[in-house]
């Protein structure tokens, strides 16, 4: 799918990212192989998953599903999911939305575009969320906003730090203004968690854009980003259309944001867990007994 699609004119720059999500389990939809868009090596999906969705040949990053992400940083068997029953309705009765939700659930195997819970990381208890790229590209509707808000509220109550992984195309337009309101709602929950003196570390992954960038993704006390991740408010295609000019090569990539002063550090996937563990401990996190 990737190999063929890459020469077509992209419908949407975000959808057309060379490192498109491959959260599907090997064989889940009949595919066992994928070609690395960077070095063209054919890779078995199983091998790719075992390698943290990093191309073993050239080191390119593929998108990672929410569950895999949680597995990659949480201590074994420590994750306890919260709020899994909070799922999107169709508040505006928007044409075809119920269908799209059903497809997203089938494709991702998740009820909603974010997975929340508590876990330990290097022994330190924390609240954690990871967004799911295969569920409508992590778009934010009322249920996603509600889950993130509930997580921050619970973390405030239980005095836990929050670690979050973002991936999002922005607001979910099928929920109209109610999706916009989630930006304010989540911002309020992050603010209250911060006012209680608690730590929030946000890790920006490819891509993080729109209403998520303009709310909880950019509200961390510490903001990390994966190498090469596209992070911005407007998507690159929108900017190209507005400006009528080609964008610079690495525009809106994590390295660009670091240079401009909007992220604290770029952290590779293999170093992510130990980095988060260090930061949690430097902020008073202690291993639970």
């Amino acid at each position: 799918m990737l190999g063929k699609g890459i020469f077509k004119k992209p419908k949407n720059t975000l959808e057309a990212s060379p490192f498109e999500a491959t959260a599907k389990k090997p064989g889940a939809s009949g595919e066992v192989c994928v070609k690395c868009p960077a070095c063209r090596t054919a890779l078995f999906l199983g091998d790719l998953a075992a390698n943290g969705r990093i191309c073993p040949r050239c080191g390119a990053y593929f998108r990672m599903g929410a569950r895999e992400r949680l597995d990659s940083v949480c201590d074994a068997d420590s994750f306890e999911e919260l709020f899994s029953g909070v799922v999107s309705g169709d508040p505006l009765r928007f044409p075809d939305y119920e269908n799209k939700l059903a497809q997203a659930r089938a494709r991702s195997g998740e009820p909603e575009a974010v997975v929340c819970g508590t876990a330990r990381l290097g022994g330190v208890p924390m609240a954690i969320f990871a967004m799911e790229p295969e569920f409508m590209l992590g778009s934010m509707g009322a249920a996603l906003g509600e889950k993130v808000t509930l997580l921050f509220e619970q973390a405030t109550l239980n005095r836990l730090p929050v670690v979050g992984f973002t991936v999002s195309g922005g607001a979910r337009m099928q929920e109209g203004i109610l999706s916009l309101m989630q930006m304010a709602k989540t911002s309020g929950a992050v603010r209250r968690h911060g006012d209680a003196g608690l730590l929030y570390i946000c890790v920006l992954t490819d891509p993080t854009t729109g209403g998520v960038t303009a709310s909880f993704a950019m509200q961390g006390d510490i903001t990390l980003a994966e190498p090469g991740a596209l992070v911005g408010f407007a998507g690159p295609r929108v900017i190209e259309q507005t400006m009528r000019q080609k964008l610079p090569e690495r525009f809106q990539r994590a390295e660009f944001l670091l240079e401009k002063g909007f992220v604290d550090a770029i952290v590779g996937r293999r170093e992510m867990k130990q980095t988060l563990s260090l930061l949690l401990r430097l902020h008073g996190g202690e291993a639970a007994v």
Partner: protein
């Protein structure tokens, strides 16, 4: 009026802009420029003024009337420094216990290279988070176009009021039609689906009040706003400022119909 007619009315070039509301409602307006970090975004007008004797902070997104003004004001689309200027004035309002009135009229936050380089997303994220805890009363009035995050940045308020023909949406109907259906000719349908009119938003609880318009004569509306803004701000100002911020959180906390 259909949804697409409201969209057209909200964007009509003869419609009063933020500065018209400031000039017709407040006395002694003194404009305060700049964000102290990068520059002065002319798409955002901010300053101090008197409202029926009450000192207030006023912040408006300004589109301009003439072509020259529109270019100067970037058609009302703010850059990050515009939101940082607004936030600076809100923090000053909190310090001096002045209430804040915002007038919202924008197609959206500007999408461009400079805006991204200077952190458009971060600037909006910051003002949203700060407004959620701001310990002074805030009322926002949607006077024309309310375009997505760029409008919400000035609408995290204790009460949000909306003119009868204003619109407020997560995306423009054109954008929605072209992304969802790849068909710009379905803009009117998208406008209906998005529930962006004052009536729709009142029913959804997104705005507290819809203010009637009387054709091209805005004088009655200015008089109504002058009286009611002063009255409501005085009432809100009597409440404990911290309790007010908590109520503001609850106001936004309730949004989201979700299946349990």
């Amino acid at each position: 009026m259909s949804a697409i007619e409201s969209v057209r009315a909200a964007r009509a070039s003869g419609r009063p802009t933020g500065l018209d509301f400031i000039r017709n409602i407040f006395e002694d307006f003194f404009e305060l420029h700049g964000d102290r970090r990068f520059g002065d975004d002319r798409a955002v007008v901010a300053g101090v003024a008197r409202l029926d004797g009450l000192p207030v902070t006023v912040i408006a997104l300004e589109k301009g009337h003439t072509t020259k003004e529109k270019l100067e004001r970037n058609f009302g689309s703010a850059h990050p420094e515009g939101y940082r200027k607004a936030l600076r004035q809100m923090k000053l309002a909190e310090k001096f216990r002045r209430p804040v009135v915002c007038f919202v009229d924008t197609a959206g936050a500007y999408c461009g290279i400079g805006a991204e380089e200077r952190g458009q997303g971060q600037a909006i994220a910051e003002i949203l988070m700060e407004c959620m805890g701001l310990e002074t009363p805030v009322i926002s009035v949607l006077i024309g176009e309310g375009g997505s995050g760029g409008a919400l940045a000035l609408a995290v308020a204790d009460e949000v009021w909306m003119l009868q023909n204003a619109v407020y949406s997560v995306i423009s109907p054109e954008g929605c039609a072209s992304i969802l259906w790849k068909d710009a000719s379905r803009t009117a349908e998208a406008a209906e689906c998005l529930k962006l009119t004052a009536g729709d938003l009142l029913a959804l609880g997104v705005v507290e009040r819809v203010l009637p318009e009387t054709g091209e004569d805005f004088a009655p509306l200015y008089a109504l706003l002058k009286r009611d803004l002063a009255e409501t701000l005085r009432a809100l100002g009597a409440a404990d400022a911290r309790a007010l911020a908590a109520l503001r959180y609850e106001r936004f906390r309730k949004f989201g119909v979700v299946k349990a």
